[in-house]
């Protein structure tokens, strides 16, 4: 996983609440057995005017020019600003894969769905929770100013606005550590292999039926 330290990037809007993972990446693209290549199909049903299919060349498809991600001013955006309960629905990790593949590194919202939030950290994406008033203010500033960009610094847990103002965000210590160092958490867990084995021995004695074979 790539480490995350600090980024400065253009902010793009997804100005609705309850953006579900079916909207982020429609199911037909879940048939892939790879982790990459989902970016061109991020928000597929909103971005294009036709129905997308896996494996097709997306460059010639008709764009929905009313969808903000297609506006010239938001090209190259790496920060997504959105409303509450972003990423609700399915556990598909294809959603963060698609956001990452498109080029997003940070998502700012008043709240996220639990599984999606968790999946982001496994892929070097930083989901930031800010209260609704602050998110509203960011939306206003972003709409007012072409090329509105934010700097996000992970170490200090701060968002720095174009006017120099800064906002602090909360983050779990373990997740921050993994994200900063691009750590593989399987490797970390396996450092506790002894604890897992001794738990297993205890468990097998107390609840032997849990280890009955599925013949």
């Amino acid at each position: 996983m790539k480490p995350f330290t600090q980024i400065t990037g253009i902010v793009a809007p997804m100005d609705r609440a309850n953006v579900d993972t079916d909207i982020i990446i429609p199911k037909q693209f879940l048939k892939s057995i790879k982790r990459t290549g989902f970016g061109p199909n991020l928000f597929d049903a909103l971005r294009y005017l036709d129905q997308g299919e896996p494996g097709q060349d997306n460059s010639g498809r008709p764009l929905n020019l009313e969808f903000p991600l297609n506006f010239p001013r938001y090209q190259g955006a790496s920060v997504l600003l959105t409303r509450k309960n972003f990423g609700c629905g399915s556990s598909r990790e294809h959603a963060p894969w698609a956001l990452d593949d498109y080029g997003f590194r940070v998502i700012i919202a008043p709240s996220f769905a639990d599984i999606f939030y968790n999946n982001c950290f496994k892929n070097g994406l930083l989901p930031i929770v800010l209260n609704e008033a602050l998110v509203d203010q960011l939306f206003k500033e972003m709409y007012q100013q072409q090329g509105y960009a934010l700097t996000v610094d992970l170490q200090s847990q701060q968002i720095i606005k174009p006017n120099g103002e800064s906002l602090t965000f909360e983050l779990d210590e373990f997740r921050k550590h993994c994200l900063q160092n691009g750590l593989d958490d399987i490797g970390l867990t396996l450092e506790d292999a002894e604890a897992i084995r001794s738990y297993e021995i205890r468990r097998r004695e107390q609840s032997p039926w849990l280890f009955d074979a599925l013949g």
């Binding site: 079916d22 199911k27 037909q28 879940l30 057995i33 709240s111 604890a195 032997p208 039926w209």
Partner: protein, 502 residues
């Protein structure tokens, strides 16, 4: 404990009262780490074809082996065809090349890593959340994970069951553990009784309508109260299945006699001395009296009517007698925009009666409502009638090979076929339309599934979430009707086994 009159001791014992979730968490705690996270041991790992290929690939790339292959059970469900002829030829018969490769990849990975798989046309195959409880692969007191958000279903058994992403699938394969922080406790208590014709599906839709799709975020929801106690296991599975639609990763129901009666004799349920030992342990799987819940939500069963979702989020749901809401009456701008956008997508007008929505297709199936009791409830409404000519297609897709066999034994397939419905092969089917079963753009569907998101059942498709009996009644009438009006035709009980095992 509790027999001492020592005040200090009493205070300590008060503090020790635990919720069911607290107990399940503590039972599986491998290690608390300094940073506040914990390693939680996983007893059962369910796997399907969509969210596992990248996890197996990750293991291969890192040169890792699964920690405990006998904890893993796999089956293909999302991509497999439901259409009888296409299904008959197994994997080789799957017409969609991309789907075929994904189902084949699951089989190859299971062989390579030595994992038990119920293959595409084997007797154990089915929707992963149907076959888990039905085979006894998922049991009370277990921690259960699957790369699928509807893993919450297995919480009906008194298990801590959660959906995970693909990175976590790989993590659990490699370490048998999840890294988690403990969730908060929520109790949804439903007292009284459900009226005849009102099912677990209506109940859970009403709960989501009440607390919203983010209402349970950060919580494990325990469903309790008299109404829950009277629900059958199938009803409890429907309820826990949709906990995730209320934002909660896990929903749970305490173990009682109904649970034990259900589990006993299942192929992978403990036998002999292990059964006695298990039952003794499972008798603790309930919240202690006076245990602390961070949030309590209370509903009265009698107030709940059959529900129909009208919008593009499961919280956009109303009783059958209601009218479509008016965005102009909503003061919050984000909510107003949400309602407005949903009405445009759904092709509905504010003030329109729900019962005036005409239907193009009907889908009876999914991990929410494809169990035998669901099919019985639908068949009871349908018997002797025929689908409306305006309804293009009614799909009935049993949740597993076992459900299919049982339904055929009871002659339910004949009732559906006589009504002009299609009787299909076990799969996720039109719940998420990854196989060939899809809505066309603009089509309205009465669906027993769990999500009414934009495009969920097909590009431009319009989903209305309902119970199996409401879906069946809608198929006959061509529009939504209150199934209670047909009550005299319904002989079987729906969604509940009155007084079972109490």
């Amino acid at each position: 404990m509790g027999h001492s009159d020592n005040t200090k001791f009493d205070i300590r014992s008060v503090n020790q009262k635990k919720t069911l979730y607290d107990k399940l968490w503590q039972d599986h705690l491998v290690k608390c780490r300094d940073d506040g996270t914990a390693l939680i041991y996983i007893d059962r790992h369910l796997i399907h074809e969509v969210t596992s290929p990248q996890a197996f690939e990750g293991l291969r790339l890192a040169g890792r082996k699964p920690w405990r292959t006998d904890s893993v059970v796999a089956t293909p469900d999302h991509n497999v065809p439901s259409e009888v002829a296409e299904r008959a030829a197994g994997i080789a018969g799957i017409r969609d090349d991309v789907s075929r490769l994904q189902v084949q990849t699951l089989e190859d990975n299971c062989k390579e890593f030595g994992i038990v798989e119920f293959g595409i046309n084997e007797p154990g195959q089915g929707i992963v959340h149907v076959i888990g409880p039905e085979t006894g692969a998922t049991l009370p007191g277990m921690t259960v994970v699957c790369g699928d958000s509807h893993t919450s279903t297995h919480g009906a058994l008194g298990a801590l069951a959660q959906g995970i992403g693909t990175s976590e699938v790989e993590h659990v394969l490699a370490t048998q553990c999840l890294i988690q922080k403990k969730m908060k406790n929520m109790l949804v208590r439903v007292e009284g009784a459900l009226a005849p014709g009102v099912t677990a599906k209506d109940l859970v839709l009403a709960i989501i309508g009440e607390i919203g799709t983010a209402g349970g975020t950060g919580y494990t929801i325990e469903f309790g109260g008299n109404v829950i106690r009277k629900l059958s296991m199938e009803g409890r599975m429907t309820l826990c299945n949709m906990a995730i639609e209320a934002g909660a990763r896990a929903g749970i129901v305490a173990v009682d006699q109904t649970t034990l009666d259900y589990v006993k004799g299942k192929p992978y349920a403990p036998k002999g001395a292990h059964w006695e030992q298990a039952v003794a342990a499972w008798s603790q799987l309930h919240s202690d009296d006076g245990a602390h819940f961070d949030t309590v939500v209370e509903l009265q069963g009698e107030t709940i009517s059959p529900q129909v979702s009208w919008g593009t989020s499961p919280e956009m749901v109303l009783p059958i007698s209601a009218r479509i809401p008016d965005p102009a009456q909503q003061s919050d701008a984000t909510k107003r925009n949400g309602i407005q956008r949903a009405l445009e997508y759904m092709g509905l007008k504010a003030g329109q009666k729900i019962s005036d929505i005409a239907l193009d297709r009907v889908f009876i199936g999914s991990c929410t409502n494809s169990r035998i009791e669901d099919l019985r409830a639908a068949a009871a409404v349908v018997a002797g009638q025929h689908k409306a000519t305006s309804v293009k297609q009614v799909l009935v897709v049993p949740g597993s090979q076992a459900v299919k066999a049982q339904a055929e034994k009871e002659g339910l397939d004949k009732i559906f076929l006589a009504a002009g419905f299609e009787w299909r092969e076990p799969s996720c089917s039109m719940c998420l339309a990854m196989n060939a079963d899809k809505l066309g753009a603009g089509e309205h569907c009465a669906s027993t599934s769990n999500r009414n998101f934009e495009g969920r059942q097909g590009y431009g498709g319009r989903t209305h979430l309902v119970s199996p009996s409401m879906a069946a009644a809608a198929a006959i009438a061509g529009r939504f009707v209150d199934v209670r009006e047909q009550l005299d035709k319904i002989t079987n009980s729906i969604g509940t086994t009155e007084g079972a095992g109490q």
